[in-house]
Amino acid sequence: MMKSDGIEDEEKWLAEGIASIQHNAFYMHRALDANNLREVLKYSAQLLSELRTSKLSPHKYYELYMRAFDELRKLEMFFKDESRHGVSVVDLYELVQHAGNILPRLYLLCTVGSVYIKSKEAPAKDILKDLVEMCLGVQHPIRGLFLRSYLAQVSRDKLPDIGSEYEGDTDTVMDAVEFVLQNFTEMNKLWVRLQHQGPGQLKEKLEKERSELRDLVGKNLHVLSQIEGVDLELYKDTVLPRILEQIVNCKDELAQYYLMDCIIQVFPDEYHLQTLETLLGAFPQLQPTVDIKTVLSQLMDRLSNYAASSTDVLPEFLQVEAFAKLSGAIGRVIEAQVDMPIVGAITLYVSLLTFTLRVHPDRLDYVDQVLGACVKKLSGKPKLEDNRAKKQVVALLSAPLEKYNDIVMALTLSNYPRVMDHLDNETNKVMAMVIIQSIMKNNTCISTSDQVEVLFELIKGLVKDLDAMAGDEIICTVKKNILNGGPKRLSFTVPPLIFSALRISQKVVCGLQLIRQLQVQDGDVAGEEVPATPKKIFQILNQTIEALFVVPSPELALRLYLQCAEAANDCDLEPVAYEFFTQAFVLYEEEVADSKAQVTAIHLIIGTLQRMHVFGVENRDTLTHKATGYSAKLLKKADQCRAVYACSHLFWVDDQDGIKDGESLPELPELMEEAVSTVDISIYRVLLCLKRALRIANAAQQMANVTRGSSGPVTLFVEILNKYLYFFEKGNPQITSAAIQGLIELITTEMQSDSSVPNAISDAFFASTMRYIQFQKQKGGLMGEKYDSIKAK
């Protein structure tokens, strides 16, 4: 609210100011038409008095100033024509100084001064000197800046430059330069002072407003650069030192940054090259917060472009030892600005490198020097964290590759790998990719073994992760470190380790398969020389998981064992997989005590075991038997039931022979299981499991009757029914439609019994199961026929 009021007020003040200027301008125009000097002076002074306001922001003040400026042009025309007012310009120059208020007085003085110079009744230099001195009277930053800006504006085309009509007798350019420099110095002082105006809480706004005025100051440098007579010598001896003196002395971050940049932009590159030492000498003297790196980068960019513009200029670069000077300056700046973030320093080195690559493409030693300096800066510090810094390092390292398109060159740079060492693995990898892409793109040939050595040193970031042979070593190292982690850490650190190790083992296996294929193709039958590597990895894994015992975290360890077993399965390593399962069972038996955890664990075991294909009959039997046994020993009947019917899957493999043809086998008694073939036994065992599950479910039902007086829900039965249907559909000959029919009737009876309590969930479950049967029946075909014999209500 306050703020918006402020803006509104400002608008109001501006409008009032403009209105008053217009009002006075009207009378001034009348006086001009009447050639009445007295009145002209009176109204022009009143008009200019509006510029005395302190209420406007620079932006608004500028608007007001422009209004007054337009009027001053008309006034100047009038002053120029002596026949209109009858007063000599000399007298006029005194006359306007009678004005009591300084600001109108000085605007008028500058206006008459401009006419005075044009009249050539006095040397331009004297008038300019007088004007620039008199303007000292306005110490208010905004008003002073605009006044001096006006002075600069009206004097621009009247400087006693060489070849100008205002050129004097001796040393006349010097006067022009002196004038502009002095005006520049004063304007910069005012500009810097602007930040101390006004209340503190508006600091940010003030800085923004200040920034808007910077071009008023910078304009002076532009004028200097336009003075014909400012040759290299004058620039070197006077102009640059004087500008730099002011820049350094003003001790203001904004001004220093802007003006250094301004120097670089407005003066010719050739001058920069020849005054490098002076220019660079100023940088370490700037305020520590100045963004030197951007400015220096600008300078180097310009010089690089200059060098690229013509080969004729290259000797100049050598002559002035541009590289050494820039390099030295960067060093000093980095040294002086202790607080400069690392990214700043690296950015500087990138610019320097770009410079040397463009200017001295033949000097590889320079490139190495830059990298060396960078290494020096990076050394003793932790690896880079800052993303921008990492990017800059990549840029630094990529630049030579892009320039020479030849990795061999980079291989000769001793500091190249040393810079890479300071990168984190991620960035290192990115860099290695860049290197390899460069090789690929340019079809680089690497001819000596030494170079290959260096190259591999460079791209080790890539090699280490991809090279299977090295994988186990890495894992070993990581394991060694991780296992020292202590109980609290282990449960978090072990799983990732296991999984990365597993990934490696997979890659290894793929690699081996590839090798084998190749060997076959080559006709090389060197035989089963399977390296011990995958086994070794599993060995390590086993040890690693054991480490979890100290935590203790049996559930986690059990999962990891199962995961490993599955991986070993994929690697066709039966003994290993069996070993892991054994471990898992031991854990289950000895460590998993909680009943809920047991349920989860047993289901995990069953699930994993179901997917294993590596096991021979014997091993498989042992394991499934154990799993079934554990299932039946769970605490709750319901859990037992579910685990047991899940076990039924262990005996059923989809692509088993003799299933698809739907051949029916005679029903076998339980005792006869040993006698039949493995496959038959398995098929038979599915039924055994389901029957066992039914018995358990029944027992559960009875227990519920005893404890609660009512039978529990029929959910378990429905679940078993679904299993029946599953195997029935899969074509297990032991699962007959009669059995299903019986089960359906059992469930229906249970649901209708007196003691049953209606349960919405199990009812819905049963109903949808029945709908499914109905659906299958109606579908017809083979499946429909199969279902035909089942009666569903």
Binding site: E94, H98, G100, L103, M134, L136, V138, Q139, G144
Partner: protein
């Protein structure tokens, strides 16, 4: 008084002309009634000569006890009481004639027709300049008196102005001074001279040695101090004749602000010191700094103003 006499319809017209009246420089003179008239300008040691014509009104004669002309140098001081009552007007003040010269023009007799008398005061000593101040006035006047016994004398006045010129002083030091407020503001100012002529220009600078207050602006004032009376009855009247802004905004330490003040636009007189023990007129330069709370800090310095002989 002329006016009063006019009311009586005088029986004759008196005109006073100067012998070099056509060539002599005429300058404006503000009279006590507020009117400005052009009068001839003289300086000390000049001859004041001319003619006085007395022309009786048609068909009348002037019977008199003698005709004389006087050259008077007068100082009029406005009475304090009167000033307090009305704050204006000098009339009925105290008159002091510091110069009084007489020439008898005619012996008693009758004038029937226009009669012209030449007169001359040679190398008249007129040490003081004509001055029109706030409370004091110095005038030179020619007074023609036709003395009559019972009907009252017929009197005519002719003012003229006197200005005296001085050569440029042989010693004219600059005024240089360091002033300030402890730990707040230290400045050093310099005016290039201590004696300025009326068309002179004051050149100088103010150097800021220490600035701890927020200065808003700085003016240079020219002040005139007119003192009348003496001892316990001294009355001082100070006027600010010029207020000239030297600086806008707050300077920082080390800034040097230029001064260039042309005196010609202002109505100054030379410095008058103890004129006939009646009054003095002195001039001062007052340097005033105003801070953002509108507090004024000033330093006043006397300067001497003199009238330099114009070369033209």
């Amino acid at each position: 008084m002329n006016y009063l006499i006019g009311a009586f319809k005088p029986s004759c017209n008196i005109s006073i002309t100067f012998s070099d009246g056509k060539t002599r420089k005429q300058v404006p003179l503000k009279k006590e009634n507020g009117q400005t008239v052009m009068v001839p300008l003289f300086q000390s040691q000049e001859n004041i000569a001319g003619k006085i014509s007395i022309e009786p009104v048609q068909g009348k004669k002037v019977d008199h006890n003698g005709v004389k002309v006087e050259l008077l140098g007068q100082i009029e001081e406005s009475s304090m009481k009167f000033i307090l009552l009305t704050e204006m007007y000098f009339d009925r003040g105290n008159f002091y004639d510091f110069t009084s010269l007489v020439r008898e023009l005619d012996v008693p007799g009758d004038i029937y027709e226009k009669k012209t008398y030449p007169f001359e005061f040679s190398t008249v000593e007129m040490p003081y300049e004509t001055y029109n101040g706030v409370h004091v006035r110095l005038r030179y006047v020619l007074k023609v008196t036709i003395s009559r016994g019972y009907a009252g004398s017929i009197i005519e006045y002719q003012d003229f102005m006197v200005r005296n010129y001085s050569p440029a002083p042989s010693i004219n030091n600059s005024i240089k001074m360091e002033v300030g407020i402890e730990d707040c503001l230290h400045i050093e100012f310099e005016y290039n001279k201590s004696k300025y002529h009326l068309k002179d220009v004051i050149i100088g600078k103010i150097y800021f040695l220490l600035v701890r207050i927020k200065i808003k602006n700085m003016d240079l004032e020219i002040r005139r101090r007119e003192s009348t009376g003496s001892g316990a009855n001294t009355h001082v009247e100070t006027e600010t004749l010029a207020k000239f802004e030297l600086m806008d905004g707050a300077p920082v330490r080390g800034e040097s602000i230029p001064i260039r003040l042309f005196l010609s636009p202002y109505e100054l007189t030379p410095t008058y010191r103890n004129i006939n023990n009646k009054f003095s007129v002195k001039y001062f330069l007052n340097l005033v700094l105003v801070d953002e709370e509108d507090r004024r800090y000033f330093k006043q310095q006397e300067i001497t103003i003199y009238r330099l002989q114009e070369t033209s």
